[in-house]
Symmetry: D2
Subunit: 142 residues, 4 copies
């Protein structure tokens, strides 16, 4: 699978309500888009939330997130969130996101996620499952 095939692209039009009194995107919105992009990427790979739940998993919760802001983004900008799984550990995987406006890189970010399963001792708690081969393969990793 090529890198392009593994990448999801989420188009976002920056709305008035995404912007703060300084007239630029209020930064928590970038994370909202990252989350939407990761769900889209998982679905595109055949391991979206509905599929995961049908297998008894609870979803793809977060362990860590972060991002770097290169240039301000404003109302009316048409951006794209390019997202790709870049690494797997035994019980976590890393998604990288790049927000582009045309060719210009505006924001870079990542999410470290795991595959949630109910904790055997307490259904209120979550436990990170060992990532199945099929899950890695869905994102093009051998």
């Amino acid at each position: 699978m090529s890198d392009a095939a593994r990448t999801s692209v989420l188009p976002v039009r920056v709305e008035f309500g995404h912007c703060d009194p300084a007239g630029i995107v209020w930064y928590p919105n970038f994370y909202e888009w990252f989350d939407a992009a990761s769900h889209r990427l998982a679905e595109q790979a055949g391991v979206g939330l509905h599929a995961l739940r049908a297998q008894g998993f609870l979803g793809l919760p977060l362990m860590q997130t972060g991002s770097t802001y290169h240039r301000p983004t404003r109302f009316g900008d048409e951006v794209e969130v390019h997202s790709r799984v870049v690494a797997f550990e035994r019980r976590s995987f890393r998604v990288e996101h790049r927000i582009l406006c045309g060719d210009e890189l505006r924001v870079e970010g990542f999410e470290l996620r795991f595959l949630g399963q109910p904790h055997p001792d307490d259904p209120q708690r979550l436990r990170a499952a060992d990532l199945p081969e099929s899950f890695r393969a869905a994102f093009g990793f051998a």
Copy 2:
């Protein structure tokens, strides 16, 4: 029960991120505060979400909402959301909200809610339950 006893008061400090490029509160935030205020009001009356779920109900979904904006609200304003149940129908009830900054009325709004129960034919759907006497009584209605 007096009107004052039936009223919940939710203090909200208006944050930078609540405001839009015009420098005033972006209006969907007012509805976010109404929703929080209604949950607080229900909890204060002993029929909060956890209590309702323990009785097999699904929550307090919305049928209708609305609001009127009297004066702009800005970053740094300290407001209060005053909320009260003002009317019951057989299967719905109406919450009224007033957002005050000091004595000044900024926003008035309402929510028409019902008591959700699983639909007998389809657990994905919601049905409006007849409101039990105990539910009305919790909000001070005979």
Copy 3:
């Protein structure tokens, strides 16, 4: 101008993060989409925010909003917000929004907006301008 020509259509994919613990769209999100839809509608009519500001106006603030929820909307639903200006007063206009999933009407709402100009006595305050003929004409009203 036909009704269809006056209508803007904003497609929205319902994301995981739009939904609440009951698994349905948390209602303030509908107002976020209404606001985005109105900005799109105004832009499509040639009176978007950038154009208005170039004429010395401050934007299209809200006097009143409301909505009615017909059926629940869930993660993964692909909906459309259909928006149209339906009435003008001297200093306000009413936008109506319908959220459809396929042919199914999920939510109906409205926004009553005005054309904001700086208040002559206090630049912090807003005043409702008389709506110019050209503004009405932009939305297909004689």
Copy 4:
């Protein structure tokens, strides 16, 4: 100045609408609270947004943010965001945030911010100002 004196504490009650279909806080909300906490911290130090603007600065934009999620947070939890400036560079400073529920650490995060001034060549752009001594001193740094 002691560490305690330099720390701001923002209490947050976790609302229904902060939570996602998995019943836990949807993570962009943590960043919303970080942002509110940083504004509070700056205000407490006498360099809040209004004070900065009076000096010709544009605010405290972000260069980088990140966070680590230790344990899930749910509707009804009463948490506190403890925030402190931990380091200064010539043109940036780092705020650290810890979200606690009682004694339990739920989330750790940081924001790298700068002091924004208008770019001399283009008022639409932002430039990072050299941080004045008075700004460092406001947060208890010599």
